[in-house]
Amino acid sequence: MMDSHSNSGRSRWKWLLIAVGIPVLIGAWWAFRPEKLWINKQVNEPAPFASTTDPQPLYTGLLEGEAHKTSGRATIYKTADGKEYLRLTNFSTSNGPDVHVLLARSDDENLKQEIVKGQLDSIELGPLKGNQGDQNYDLPASVDVQKYNAAVIFCERFHAVFGVARLEQF
């Protein structure tokens, strides 16, 4: 008699546990969806432009400069025939003597200083055309932009870094 009573009590507990436990588990699953930690959802929508005859931006970054206030955007474009060029937009820097546009390595310690002590590992793109306004600079063929991934406004005479833009994939 006692035995069967405790048996039915245990089985009632079991049912209660199931009745409460399962909704709680479902609720927790719904809230956290833990399986999504392992399941990725990959999409691949096309760009909003069909025309590929326009130059396409490859890398872009914002210019920063402390010593000589430099601002604007530097973007590397690739034309339909495979030529690459650097374009400066909303650009402004201080005017100075013998200022050039270079590509350098963004991790180069020299760029952290205002004045470069040694030789800057860089690629020359030409003298700065103007200290304000939009302007383009052709890249020499076969420049490794993955390696030289920073645009630098550089005063050759005083080895002064006017501004640096670290370029990231567009």
Binding site: W30, A31, F32, R33, K36, L37, I39, N40, K41, Q42, V43, N44, E45, P46, A47, P48, F49, A50, S51, D54, P57, T60, L62, R73, T75, T89, N90, E168, Q169, F170
Partner: protein
């Protein structure tokens, strides 16, 4: 008389054909990038680029490229009226204005979202990948003029 009517019909047909043709050409022409920025997010590692394009008809579109975030429940793409956002949970205060762009289509890959007409981009400056359920910011991309 009949010939004249035929000529008029032919001209009208041509005009209609050209009229129908021009919008198709407009679709092919390029959209202009207005603003861009990169995602940062450490708690739910989020990376990639967000760019706002303006199409020929003036409509705005947000495009995510090289995009990657963690998958999660009820994740949305929103624009917020702030210059940037941290990774914190509960980062959205009740008074933070936002524009809903829709559910995140995928946690990886290139994707486009329509921005509602009349959205003031000078006010809504940051894209957020936002988990509605936990009021958590997966990642944010502050936008700068392109």
């Amino acid at each position: 008389m009949v010939r004249e009517i035929k000529t008029v019909l032919a001209v009208a047909t041509l005009a209609v054909a050209f009229g129908l043709h021009s919008p198709a050409q407009a679709q092919e022409s390029s959209a202009k990038a207005l603003e861009t920025g990169t995602f940062h997010g450490k708690v739910h590692s989020t990376s990639g680029r967000a760019t706002i394009y303006q199409k020929e008809d003036g409509s705005l579109l947000l495009r995510l490229t090289n995009f990657k975030t963690s998958n999660g429940p009820d994740v949305h793409v929103i624009l917020i009226a702030a210059s940037d956002a941290n990774d914190d949970a509960n980062f959205l205060k009740s008074n933070t204005e936002r524009v809903e762009l829709g559910k995140l289509k995928g946690n990886e890959g290139d994707q486009n979202y329509v921005i509602p007409k009349g959205t003031d981009l000078s006010k809504f400056q940051t894209v957020s990948i936002y988990c509605e359920r936990f009021n958590a910011n997966f990642g944010a991309a502050p936008l700068e003029k392109f």
